[in-house]
Symmetry: C2
Subunit: 82 residues, 2 copies
């Protein structure tokens, strides 16, 4: 199981409720791919969302986000952390 950070752009003005709804949409289907989205952080001014997850592959993370309605191509595998 690997760890990933993915980045979404264009989320300017998104509220906590909207972020929660997007996160819940991921959680609902993430088990299909063996992915788990642990946490998500939003900068509503820059419109950036960062999602920390674990899963079998970058592609599995991308498939869940795509099916949940917020696809991103920007997914980084993080084998090293301090």
């Amino acid at each position: 199981m690997a760890r990933f950070m993915d980045v979404h752009s264009g989320f300017q003005g998104v509220t906590a409720e909207q972020l929660q709804a997007a996160h819940d949409a991921d959680l609902l289907i993430e088990a299909d791919e063996g992915v788990h989205f642990e946490q998500a952080w939003l900068d509503p001014v820059a419109g950036k969302v960062f999602c920390l997850s674990t899963g079998p592959s970058k592609e599995a993370v991308m498939r869940i986000h795509e099916r949940a309605g917020h696809a991103t191509a920007e997914v980084y595998e993080l084998p090293i952390e301090v």
Copy 2:
């Protein structure tokens, strides 16, 4: 106290020891600005580092990273998390 994510590029091939050394350099001086770097994750293939921190301002985070030798202009304030 606010929460921030900053992003560094160009860290291709960096090792766990090198990331730890860079993180330690931040920790050594972070109190000067009331900043705390909680965690850092590295994708050594894409060369991306993500640092999660708390502090009084984006500029305070940037000053610590700059003094520690790894400046970045890409710092996001994260008032919303799930």
